[in-house]
Symmetry: C2
Subunit: 395 residues, 2 copies
């Protein structure tokens, strides 16, 4: 066997004690936050049959998902690359409540390839979803909770740390519907928009009729602050009147966020097509400065659960706990991991009682093993004095 | 697509809200327990190259492990079927401390096939390990912590709920070494002992010289209370004097447990060969009545990390959180999941402040969405009275 048998696959990482303690603290803080908002925890399995796992999410998720044969059934299972479809299946099939379901989750996922260069292949995904509510109020609630999540990691909307990115897939959809272009051209236009490649887009638009070509060209540049929406109305509504509703919904979200979080930066990108084949309405993401990717993102994805026999409105967000932790750990004190009390090894019941009591009080008590040199981790020790066990500073 | 697209693979299960809340509570209670004993949390990845993952654990773990090709390197990765070898790798390679490492973990694993009939293929493994201490005191510490784990799930050593199963692979090893039998016969003897098949064992022993045949035959029946060890000395030591040390170690464990937990049932099984190719010393398991499998188990497995460049003493235990939870949930009140307070939907800052305050105080506050009928989950509501937001019983 080679000397590098300890090597981990590229993009796969382990978390050692100090960081693991921080990650666990953040995990608990976030699950407690979702709990306090009325979201219920669910724990989906690591693997499912691919037909359940890849539902409605298209080729992107398929490429991210590692597949294995199920030795019991011979069918193909996938290792989850995203918990959202699993939670949608749980809402659609496992929970009989016809009302609104607020669900949350936290767990490891695996990506066959990095999502983009430098990305981890082993994120720990946390997130929350609302099922059964089609109004924009549900989107506003999950955007709000996404921002709280980013704040829990140590950022603040109040000091302008966070930028909320907003889009709505319905705007491009309305325009495509009105334009009725050749399907192949349409696919290439969508692809150029997805890649945000203006030159490729312009080349495709050469074969598209006016006024649509002009409008698409303008749409690709419609990003910036909230005033973008006013311009959008002027430019788009004339050729695609059905885009009015998506634009109004975005305005509602922005107005609500301005009241709730006055110092939040808002960036509107009407050509944003992340998860275009999957999302059905508003899409959103949270960005922080000096970090190239979204730190959390989500959107509306109605009817994903229909394959499981229940068509449901759905909106939610997710984030990678490992990414959030990088910032969280720098925002909290280095001394979060408490020092330990050393106790001698003995079966003496009075010692065992003293140790149990200290542990119940939240202390860390390590029993000294024969070959143990506890070094710097220990700052106090349990010693017997006048027939009583007392805690003493380590000399 | 078929109508049963929601089906999960056999032996793979999801955990819905009420049980998920209980599981998360138990998970936290156990990690807090390990923390209070000085064990540090580590978070190994879901996958590793098989040569790291399967180190020293032999054919049993290989068969349990699902394999996938790594698209980036072309090498074979395994989805972890056990966290112990991962934690051993972390101790041997990632943690430079030459002293004792106490490590703990909690995370999902996947088994290609059920370990035994009716077993889950998707346990959530929790456990704790001590590295770098070869004395029996370390075994006693992890046995003690294993028993605390079972007690945290709702059982009590004091009321005789729990049976501790003890063995030591060194006893069979000593006897085999003295007997110097043909390697093929030896393999079949070990196999018969593993399966606890007395008829198969007797058949194999027909070709084994006296007094070894007689001793093996007696060994297979050496199980019961602590008096077994006295008999063992008489029977085994004459033909295999090196078995004295394992027997003495078991006596030490039993004496210590008798002082620490007077009402613990102790069952000694000197022919117990669970993980025979893997364990190197004392093996132990906790049983409870009316449950056919061990609810937690472990043992000593020195030198597993040597392949990573560091040969270390190691002992530890593991359990399936999903199994522990079954008992835990019946031992706690049905009302563990707190009821929620309903709040109206509004951007009103005074309402938002009132909600934030309640959530900080540990309440669950759900904001009523337009199509929401909150039903029985809600027992109180936030209403405005004299310009103040107050919590009222739901009418």
């Amino acid at each position: 066997m080679s000397n590098n048998s300890w090597q981990l696959p590229d993009g796969v990482d382990e978390i050692l004690p100090e960081r693991a303690f921080v990650l666990e603290s953040l995990r608990r803080a976030l699950l407690d936050l979702y709990h306090s908002w009325g979201y219920q925890l669910v724990i989906p399995p690591l693997v499912e049959f691919t037909e359940a796992l890849l539902v409605g999410l298209g080729a992107d998720l398929d490429l991210l998902t590692c597949k294995i044969p199920d030795q019991l059934s011979g069918r193909t299972m996938g290792i989850r690359a995203d918990l959202t479809p699993q939670v949608a299946r749980i809402d659609a099939h496992s929970m009989l409540d016809p009302g609104i379901n607020r669900l949350c989750y936290a767990g490891p996922v695996l990506h066959a390839k990095p999502k983009s260069s430098g990305c981890s292949r082993s994120p720990i995904q946390v997130g929350a979803e609302i099922f059964g509510e089609s109004t924009v109020q549900a989107d506003i609630e999950v955007i709000d909770l996404m921002l709280e999540t980013v704040e829990a990691a140590g950022f603040s909307c109040a000091t302008g740390d966070i930028t909320l990115d907003l889009g709505h897939v319905g705007i491009v959809q309305s325009l495509l519907k009105s334009a009725q272009m050749d399907k192949e051209v349409e696919a290439r236009v969508v692809d150029a928009l997805k890649r945000k490649s203006i030159p490729d887009l312009e080349r495709e638009l050469a074969s598209v009729a006016e006024p649509f070509a002009k409008t698409f060209s303008a749409l690709a540049r419609l990003n910036g602050d909230a005033s973008v929406l006013t311009n959008a109305k002027e430019i788009i509504l004339e050729v695609a009147p059905s885009a009015a509703k998506p634009i109004d919904l975005l305005n509602e979200v922005i107005e609500s966020m301005r009241v709730r979080r006055p110092n939040l930066n808002i960036y509107v990108d009407l050509a944003e097509l992340r998860g275009y084949n999957y999302h059905t309405g508003i899409v959103f993401a949270a960005y922080i400065s000096d970090f190239g990717q979204a730190i959390a993102n989500g959107g509306r994805y109605d009817n994903v659960g229909s394959i499981f026999g229940r068509s449901r409105a759905a909106t939610g967000f997710g984030a990678d706990l490992k990414v959030l932790m990088r910032f969280y750990s720098s925002s909290i004190s280095r001394d979060v991991v408490p020092k330990v009390i050393s106790a001698p090894y003995s079966d003496d019941p009075s010692l065992r009682e003293a140790i149990a009591l200290l542990r119940e009080e939240g202390e860390r008590v390590v029993i000294q093993l024969p070959s143990e040199d506890q070094g710097n981790a220990v700052d106090r020790q349990l010693v017997k004095s006048n027939n009583e066990w007392i805690v003493q500073k380590k000399r």
